[in-house]
Subunit: 389 residues, 2 copies
């Protein structure tokens, strides 16, 4: 067991993340804000650019990834598949508008400020995907996951995440100088959508069988452990077909929600989510480098200006998309629910930076937009929340 892993540093970071998340989550609630906003802010404070107690290391990232997968699994468990399919059409409309509008806005602003078309394409693409993790967490906190608005937001965010990865495959290809072939795009899209359908169609009988097998067991904690294993396997499969692990975990949750042990799984899962999900929000917050955000430093200003403009078009595009929903729903709430970017936007930005398509200052601008939309959403959602049905 001699190894490269610094166990001491990991334990300290994990403990700091838990304490920071719960303390700031509580403070946020006391001033009438969702707890997740406090957790994000705690992450900024604990991250490398301020206190440095939570490093952006692989070890911490690992806990964050497990946390967000378990969170989405739990959200899936609390989601009714039929209910979600009933809002399929408006959710799709919201998702598509919510991708096109921010893409167009981001592209236009970036080109207008004198950047290349390639850079503008990456910027636009980075603004397309809603953060399903943050959205789901706020909806759950506000207890509106089961409302029609909640279902539309969730459905649209899933579509968004799936299509966002297709867009990523496309722009990465373009940035690499490769020829973009229609067949590649079609294949990538078909895989992502096919996976989700297959996970649900195959998953439902498989999940029921799993529960029957689990009921035969005598040893302690089998239901929880096997459910988590199921979620991890579907998340792994999602990743293997180049879709998002969190979409897989969400599908796994919806599938197990259709078994008779739904509530037992949920109660075995809650304490685990309570401990690991905060690490994800802390990690997202920790990625904010506050030094680049200081407007008193003249070199920061161009990036900040572009960042603010991107935040504006990113915000307005998603918010407007909410108004593409129909039926007796609070459209402004749906729009607000689509606003936070988070993980997928960060992946776009990182790929763009690594490939050279995004110059460093533009990379910072994208991060500003990703984070500002993420931070503005929780209080906005709380403000606009519909009465629980």
């Amino acid at each position: 067991m001699e190894h490269g892993l610094n166990v001491g540093a990991l334990f300290l970071a994990f403990a700091a993340a838990l304490i920071g998340a719960k303390l700031f989550g509580e403070l946020a609630e006391r001033v009438g804000q969702p707890a997740v906003l406090g957790e994000l802010l705690a992450g900024v404070l604990l991250g490398p650019s301020v206190l440095g107690l939570v490093p952006l290391s692989d070890a911490v990232l690992e806990l964050a990834e497990i946390g967000v997968v378990l969170l989405l699994f739990e959200v899936g468990l609390e989601t009714d598949l039929e209910e979600l399919m009933r809002v399929g059409a408006p959710a799709l409309a919201v998702a598509l508008a919510g991708m096109l509008l921010p893409f167009a806005g981001g592209y236009a602003v970036t080109v207008a400020l004198g950047h290349s078309a390639l850079t503008a394409t990456f910027v636009g693409a980075a603004l397309t995907a809603t953060s399903i993790g943050i959205t789901a967490r706020v909806l759950s906190e506000l207890k509106v996951l089961a409302t029609r608005e909640g279902q539309i937001i969730l459905g649209a965010a899933v579509v968004d995440d799936v299509l966002g990865l297709v867009v990523l495959a496309i722009v990465s290809k373009v940035a690499g100088g490769g020829q973009l072939e229609a067949a590649t795009v079609a294949r990538s899209g078909a895989l992502a959508i096919g996976f989700l359908v297959a996970a649900i169609v195959i998953g439902i009988p498989l999940g029921r069988r799993l529960i029957r097998v689990v009921e035969l067991a005598n040893v302690r904690g089998v239901l929880g452990a096997m459910s988590v294993a199921f979620a991890l396997l579907v998340a792994w499969a999602a990743k293997a077909v180049e879709s998002a692990p969190i979409v897989g975990a969400f599908a796994a949750g919806m599938v197990l929600a259709r078994t008779n042990r739904r509530h037992d799984i949920d109660s075995a899962l809650k304490p685990v989510v309570d401990i690991f999900a905060p690490v994800f929000f802390i990690y997202v917050g920790a990625e904010v480098n506050v030094k680049l955000l200081n407007p008193a430093v003249p070199e920061n200003r161009p990036a900040l200006l572009l960042g603010l403009l991107l935040t504006l078009v990113g915000f307005l595009g998603k918010f407007a998309a909410g108004f593409c929903a129909w039926g007796k729903v609070r459209r402004a709430f749906i729009g607000a629910g689509m606003v936070p970017r988070g993980e997928v936007g960060l992946i776009f930005a990182s790929v763009g930076l690594a490939s050279g398509a995004l110059p460093e200052p533009v990379f910072v601008s994208v991060l500003v937009a990703v984070f500002l939309t993420t931070f503005v959403a929780p209080p906005l959602l709380k403000l606009l929340r519909p009465r629980a049905s």
Copy 2:
């Protein structure tokens, strides 16, 4: 979030570990063996030398380390500090005899087979420390943690682990060719013992204060998260003074056991332990390289012979140590409880290999002894178990 971590591989390994642990744990129980034996065997199968589904990567090790820390925290929560202190004297006698006898036996056997005194010192030292993780898990499974025998074993294993690390500091120094100074030894010992005393003395009022603060919180899951943070911090502090993180986690558990929320913490913790502790046992099993254990390969035979002899002296030394306990107790059960080696033995072997003190074949012999003592203990404990008091 572009990074070196392979999230897909991690999810797959985690899922395989959970499924293997629960399946083989169940099978072990069905044939009348403790579940942990099944988990260790599942680890051998899943590890790199057989199926290769669970790699010995930092990512998996991280989960294993968190698992064993949470397990020892849970064991601490179920331990009564006063009860443990009441058996302090016999536990100390068992611990000391259990270090001296295997050390002497291991040293003698290794020298007799023609190895150097330095090599023999490392071999002897590697046989000194009982695996508190495996022992505690079996005791808990057999529901004898609260018996006098269980308390003596646990107390002796803690002493063993603390002193084992002092011995490690000493032999590392010798292997490095450094001068061994009495002051260094004294400092190392004082630190390890002082830490344990300090953790308990400072921890008790601190733990009570923590619980009072936690009771003021409104957000979800604060008690579980803050208790885990507390355990991680004490584990980190233990590591910082060069003691064992699991000893720190155990102390943290004993400290929080003295608050009025003991049972709530325990029930918030159980589902988390159910999911992470198996990864530790799988990891330990995965470290077994079955290829080196095949006696049909002539090159393996000298190492296997020494390994079997070391297993014998390692077994007899610890088993005999159990008879140093006094009072109305089942001494053979105590001896059996001291037999498994596991983590600390592996650390010794790795340090010895890295420093050159242990030639590769002797390293394999030590691993054989560590694993055989580990695998033989659970069924033996089950066989010898006293009636629950």
